[in-house]
Amino acid sequence: MTAGATRGMWVIARYTFRECARRRVTVVVPVLSAIFLALYGLGVHFAFEAAHGTTRAAGGLVDTHALVGATLVGLAMFAILFLGAVFAVFLTFNTVRGDAETGSLQTLVVRPLSRPALLAGRFLGAGMLCGVYVFVMYLVAVAITGRIGDWWPHPLLLPGAALVGAVVIVAALSVLVSVYLTAIPSGIVVLMLYLAGLLAGLLGQIGDALSLSNLQTTGRYIAFVVPFEALYQQGLNSLTSGMTGLARVIVQLGPFGGAQDFGSWLWLYCLGYLLAVAALATWSFARRDL
């Protein structure tokens, strides 16, 4: 990428930040996030209060305290990923065809920055915003859980990093889909992809519970097709990796994903996936008439 294109890419990324700061999304997202965190704090308070005094259940086999903490943070991760995915879609669903239809894109494309740089700038801006958002939200949720219930995940940061990776992939897919579809259909398709990912997690979970290998394999394959789900499961899995015994089994069979371990090479796969999505989006955008 030339120096001019790199400069243009950062200008577009800053423009995305400014767009986010000026539009109502900056009001809506913090308000919704604050409401969620307040409700979450309330839930954590009552959940730990109910669990107080019963540190061991099932004849002493289950660490109730850890079970409640891990389940609550898992719940928070589910909600944060959902909010982050909606935020990513909102910032990117009109990147190409949506903006071209309203006439916003043409005046930018004719500037000497190249189409790939424009696309990269929009992705970079949206990806950074969403990534920072979900990571901060995760840290706040963990802090609430730790402060109220005195339970901290081990490892602390890996589940948050998995959420960041997941939401960055959602943003990349949204940019890619925006090359082919106008704003509203693009947003709908990406949210449906997101739901398909959740379904994959659910299938894998049912497969695990009922020992159905076909279902497990199907869930696993779908998670690779939309790897934000695989990252989310990896995050959940790392959340409970410090737990032992029946509590770990119960949390893994909980309502928020199969929590499969995809192995550390999943990160490499996701990087390759992002590069492939970027290459396809750039190629398609370069061929498109505006």
């Binding site: 001019g4 294109a5 200008v11 577009i12 006439g103 043409q106 004719v110 000497p112 920055l113």
Partner: protein, 281 residues
């Protein structure tokens, strides 16, 4: 030195529709070239191809010697789209700053201020686009196209949202830009506007160039009319040099001559003559 814009045998096909069928034109020096034609003639497609927004099916376009869409070609042009929208949350000054950054212009606040003054928006630098009228946004669009003083301006219907006073302002601005050495390709529906300011006119119909030349030559002589006591006498093949002889002959025949007019066809006459009526397509 390469011409600022050179289009050779350009064709563009959208599925089953031929938008352009072998268009060729050149823009060089400091000139104002008007692009005329009915709706769907291919004017906007031609301008978009020159900007690198649309890919041609065949033919060649060079902008300042470079392929359209390349950074070098983009740096040489200022473009105002027919339909455009600036982000409503940005102020006029911020829109220009964004485009300065993208164009790599070092003009800074001085350039932004001068451009806003030039298009009559000096008082609205801090006003958000969302609070501007369509006419104000059109003026801002023209200012945006002038960022970095590009040698070639491609303006697609730049006066479509302006009132008569605004149109006159833009005409004056175009003349001033030409005086500064800028070339302009002006795509417009307004024949009078093109006739008033352009050095050369290219009329496109159904994707082909059907007439080209300077407006004075295109609006050719249409004969001589002489008003006499017995009525108006029309001499369709006569020119300016024939008038004294015609008058002398009529007087010699005993006619009383009251008025002599040299008839010229207007650009509108030429346009209507060369452009196929919509129902004939």
């Amino acid at each position: 030195m390469a011409p600022l814009l050179e289009v050779r045998d350009l064709a563009k096909r959208y599925r089953a529709t031929d938008a352009l069928r072998g268009v060729s034109l050149r823009v060089e020096g400091a000139s104002l070239v008007g692009l005329l034609g009915p709706n769907g003639a291919g004017k906007s497609t031609l301008v978009k191809i020159c900007c690198g927004l649309v890919h041609p099916t065949s033919g060649e376009v060079r902008v300042a010697g470079h392929a359209p869409g390349t950074p070098e070609a983009c740096a040489a042009i200022g473009y105002l789209a027919e339909l455009f929208r600036f982000p409503p949350w940005l102020s006029a000054d911020e829109v220009l700053r964004l485009h300065q950054e993208l164009a790599g212009s070092r003009g800074g606040a001085e350039e932004r201020s001068a451009l806003l003054e030039l298009v009559g928006l000096g008082y609205a630098a801090g006003r958000r686009v969302g609070e501007m009228s369509k006419g104000m946004q059109q003026r801002l669009g023209i200012a945006q196209a002038l960022i970095g003083s590009p040698p070639l301006l491609l303006l697609d219907e730049p006066t479509s949202a302006l009132d008569p006073a605004g149109r006159r302002d833009v005409r004056d601005l175009l003349v001033e830009l030409r005086a500064r050495g800028t070339s302009v390709l002006l795509n417009s529906h307004l024949l009078s506007e093109v006739e008033l300011v352009c050095d050369r006119v290219v009329i496109i119909d159904a994707g082909r160039v059907v007439a080209e030349g300077d407006p004075g030559r295109l609006a050719r002589a249409g004969g001589v009319e002489i008003e006499t006591a017995s009525g108006i006498r029309h001499f369709p093949d006569a020119g300016r040099d024939d008038i004294p002889g015609l008058v002398a002959r009529l007087v010699a025949e005993g006619e009383r001559v009251y008025e002599v007019r040299q008839v010229r066809s207007t650009l509108e006459d030429v346009y209507l003559e060369v452009v196929t009526p919509q129902e004939g397509r």
